[in-house]
Symmetry: C2
């Protein structure tokens, strides 16, 4: 603000998260479109610019905003640098344009004496000349002498006063070059800046467009008797790459504790060969910065990381703030844990469930800063080793303030770091974790199966304020979640959920076994029977009935069509069958929009009439057009909005239509 008090009101900015407390999120190269209500007392013409800078040490860039009527203004800028970009609005009453309007209104009102008005105009032109000269001195911008000359000539004409004819005055106020030169040198000495400025967190492309593949490295070769090591993982990674996945995600790879180690199926009895739960971190071989010896050495890890990167893929690591009773922290920092009156350390519980192999950390302690710094250093260590994606286990059981701090710390040094929040809890906590810094978030997708549920949830995710800070990462399954829908619906259910996950969000992932349609549960629960959390898993990675070809095709389509590379371009359309969901994914360049229809019923063929959003597609109400199903390769001739489709869950539960 240049004025000693706010001279222009700038309010109701959009988008803005909680009044500007938290940044909005964008991907590098994306546009930030800002709207605001901007006005001033009296009759002055207001002008406004949006200003942005990627750090306080670089000068502001700016671009003019446009009035949309009713005091509402719009402006935009493109974000480039990964990290935080600051932005604000500057607005002012523009003396010259106000003068133009006043003179126009007086001419329209039949006034004929402009002897003083033209002198006022001349003064304003001469003041602009002075401002341009000052700028030249500072060599910030170059004002061509010809422009100066032109302004001088306008000033001289206006200074003719009563000798200036009305016709000549009319010509001057309608003169585009004059307005254009004057707009370069506005008087902003009484301008107002919106305060405090807002921020946008800019992430790299993979923060918003990626397909993840999760597997336990110890099960890589699919042997129930011989644990696989990092050196055994290449086949699995190549298979994931062939299916079109970009990110390999490993559950924790750190030493697993012995004390309290769980046996198969969460048994308290642990046999000598039982490998333990990877989330019970810490043992003789070390804690969160070390490698579980049965997986290999740090050198093996680094070799594998290099192999993954050479394939154009990336590795995501799990960050689970659990300590086994054997974790070095327990001996070195007993004050970081919860102590009970009997002298024991409290293990994790979710009554009546007990996790005897895991001690949670106590964040509300006097020496909290020491603990927080240590945890930050763990992340820094892995970032230093080249890991730039962290999937955070259960962030909703640690203080939100800790995440806000630690994510900022890591991203300050490694701006390209991505954090995925694995929070499955009530909505306000899910949202606030995204607001305070998580790049991506797990969702309720796993439990949204009907058309109404999906439409409501994805409308909230993509059409409300959430679209500006919450990037939904869709997992149809996880090691902890085998949804009833997959248990009951069998192979067709896997086909259906794969289409939904890969097209409803540009971010999705599967936990290995999904492609094999594994769906044997612990009876009556959403847990996997014989979960590999507790044991090595025997698998034929090419077992009959697998849906690898289907997933491969989906990932190919995602990579080919930009409409599937972003999430908020979703629009639900009408289908008269409640089992068929029908939606449009718009492409930014207005070409290659996709229309997607999915039969949500895994048991029966369903057919119905869909309403094609012709207007959005640029088609007339009676247009004839050819559509091509990218999944089957088949084409159809359609006409107008209403068209018939039929989807068999066994053979083709979905269409992904491209309009030709």
């Amino acid at each position: 603000m240049n004025a000693p008090f706010p001279t222009v009101i700038i309010e109701a900015l959009s988008p803005v998260i909680d009044g500007g407390k938290f940044p909005i999120k964008r991907i590098t190269g994306e546009w930030v479109v800002i709207e605001a209500t901007i006005f001033k007392e009296g009759h002055d013409i207001v002008r406004a610019v949006v200003k942005w800078r990627s750090s306080a040490s670089v000068p502001w860039q700016e671009s003019p905003m446009e009035a949309m009527g009713n005091d509402r203004w719009k402006g935009s800028f493109q974000v480039q640098e990964i990290g935080l970009t600051e932005y604000t609005i500057e607005a002012w009453g523009d003396a010259f344009e106000s003068w133009l309007e006043e003179v126009e209104e007086k001419i329209d009102g039949g006034i004929t004496d402009f002897s003083v008005e033209v002198l006022e105009g001349a003064v304003l032109v001469r003041l602009a000349m002075e401002r341009s000269l000052i700028h030249q001195g500072g060599s910030q911008k170059y004002q061509s002498p010809s422009d100066l000359e032109k302004l001088e000539s306008y000033a001289l004409r206006l200074e003719k006063g009563t000798d200036l004819s009305l016709q000549e005055l009319n010509a001057i106020i309608a003169d585009e070059p004059l307005l254009s030169i004057m707009r370069q040198w506005p008087d902003r000495s009484f301008s107002t800046c919106y305060e405090p400025s807002l921020t946008v967190r800019v992430d790299r492309l993979r923060a918003n467009f990626a397909a993840w593949y999760e597997f336990f490295p110890r099960s890589a070769k699919g042997s129930a008797t011989h644990a696989s090591t990092f050196r055994d993982c290449l086949a699995r990674i190549d298979d994931a790459k062939a299916m079109g996945f970009d990110v390999i995600y490993f559950p924790p790879i750190h030493p697993i504790g012995i004390t309290g180690r769980k046996g198969r199926n969460n048994s308290l009895i642990c046999l000598p060969d039982d490998p333990g739960v990877p989330y019970a971190i810490g043992g003789a071989a070390g804690g969160h910065c070390e490698i579980e010896p049965t997986l290999g050495t740090l050198a093996d890890f680094e070799w594998l990381l290099k192999e993954i990167k050479e394939r154009g893929m990336e590795l995501a690591l799990d960050f689970a703030l659990n300590c086994s009773p054997d974790h070095p922290y327990v001996t070195n920092h007993p004050e970081w844990f919860f102590h009970r009156p009997d002298g024991s350390i409290k293990y994790a519980e979710n009554p009546p469930k007990k996790y005897e192999d895991v001690f949670p950390l106590n964040f509300n302690i006097d020496s909290w800063q020491e603990l927080w710094n240590e945890l930050r250093d763990v992340l820094m260590t892995w970032a230093e080793r080249g890991v730039r994606i962290f999937r955070i286990d259960n962030p909703h059981t640690k203080p939100v303030a800790f995440w806000q701090w630690v994510i900022a710390q890591v991203q300050k040094k490694y701006p390209d770091t991505i954090f995925l929040s694995e929070a499955f809890t009530r909505s306000p906590m899910m949202k606030v974790l995204a607001k305070v810094g998580f790049t991506q978030s797990y969702t309720y997708f796993s439990w949204r199966n009907t058309k109404q549920e999906l439409e409501e949830y994805f409308t909230e995710l993509t059409q409300t304020e959430m679209k500006n800070y919450f990037r939904p990462h869709l997992f149809p399954n996880t090691p902890d979640i085998l949804p009833y829908y997959l248990q009951e619906g069998g192979r067709p259910a896997f086909l259906i959920r794969a289409v939904l996950a890969s097209t409803l969000s540009s971010l999705y992932g599967i936990y290995s076994g999904f492609e094999l349609c594994e769906n044997t549960p612990v009876l009556g629960r959403e847990d996997y029977a014989d979960s590999e959390k507790y044991q090595l898993k025997e698998r034929d990675w090419n077992a009959p009935g697998n849906i690898k070809a289907w997933i491969t095709r989906l990932n190919q389509i995602r990579k080919t069509y930009s409409a599937l590379q972003t999430t908020n371009n979703l629009q639900f359309c009408f289908c008269n069958n409640a089992s068929i969901i029908f939606y449009l994914k718009r492409s930014e360049n207005n070409r290659d929009h996709l229309l997607i229809a999915v039969n949500l019923d895994p048991f029966h063929a369903q057919s119905g009439v869909v309403e094609v959003p012709l207007h959005e597609l640029g088609l007339s109400y009676d247009a004839s057009y050819r559509i091509e199903d990218l999944l089957s390769g088949e084409s159809y001739y359609w006409k107008g909005a209403s068209n018939f489709i039929s989807l068999n869950p066994q053979t083709h539960p979905a269409h992904i239509f491209k309009i030709s």
Copy 2:
């Protein structure tokens, strides 16, 4: 906040204006009901209180908030002191209640070994004992020794450890007195306060419930040839009192300039007897702190003010920031005005309209502080003289920042001061003036005539965020506005607009002449012909056809029924005739709800079926009940929701029903 970092998330507070930038408004004795989303990581039981204080020098008061589900909480407090009251929310994870829940869940889960849990409970009880003792030392609260004794006995029982039976444990955790005592001494050392705190502006009753009567004191006696003085005003004031008005509002009473003085009907030719426009302030007799000599002296003014107060009424003065060319400021502070290149001072214009008798002030000058201080001192002078209501003329043509500052300055010294914003402009400016401090606001009511217009506008005013900061003051006419509806609709239109103004808001006013149904316009415009802004006005204050009895009855009903003493208790109900508007005004004590039906058509009788909101009235769907029209005194027997009404605009254009 006591914790070193926020431990509890407190967000989405309601009501809140622009993220807390501006206070909400309440009347002394009213309740502030706050809702917020409050939650914490993990499984701790959260507790929260709302805290408030009327100044930083008094201790916080607090009352517990209640959980409403889905992390949403509600709390309330009653405001008392006029001025600003600060409030916030404090929340914490409650160790003892979390312990209670954990033990309950374990019992429910079939766990039987509580040997350590009971010791944990004992520790928590003993910690509460310590906290209570500390408080006693500071003598802030008295903890009865019997409570201490009880806690000691609970602790001893829990310390029995394995000797405590499950039955005994069950009894302890279900023990109401234990919970009640423990709730007095919660551990709030890791609590979080919502920051920054919010404020509520508390006004006196008349800020929200009043009927205003505006007249030009110089026309008090209704003579076109002899100007009335303050000493002539008593009859007019008594008449207004008899009609039930509470506030007398005078246009500016300051010396009127001679230079550029306007003649009748805004003529540039001013005859010797023309009194001039009261808004062209300043002359030989002084400026904004002095009295126009033809009205009397300051002593006369003070006498009149006393007379008004003795009648239980109050005087509102106009604060118009215009200066005539003869204003002392023009000589003493030429730098406060706009200067033109020809050496002249710029008079006010709204092209092509010219106000040659008025110089506007220039707020954007280097010596702005001097100007602002002077204007504040004008208000202070009148406040000192006993005026506590100011109607501010055209605030939307002065900087909003000035109003925010000057209102705060005046209310700091005179907290009971009321400011009415006479802004007729676009909606964002109307709203921001209310946000920054105006107690009441003029509205678009004057131009809202149809049922749809009225329902939409009053729904916005009373059901959206506006209800918390914008108090609509309804004027069916002003010296500047003779709406076409009144011009065309004649006497029935005046009856109709009087009912609407006096019942749609608890604040309304009329400009004198309304009660006489004066409606001769300048042809084709909303201006009064022969406006008394420019001349003395001849009037018979009891002219035939006047509607004084109607207005008197309306004001009587307003004073009798609390439902009409507040504005936001409005609810529109259905009537199947588009010309009849039908609404419920709820009373706070759930007695004396009023149902109001108005025929908006001034030309024809209209009838229709209304739907009585039986549920809101506590009546069953088939109830029989008697309703009494407070306007006519007639009673009707109605049954169920649908009932017939018929309204003749000539004789009874409205019903105000009381349900018996």
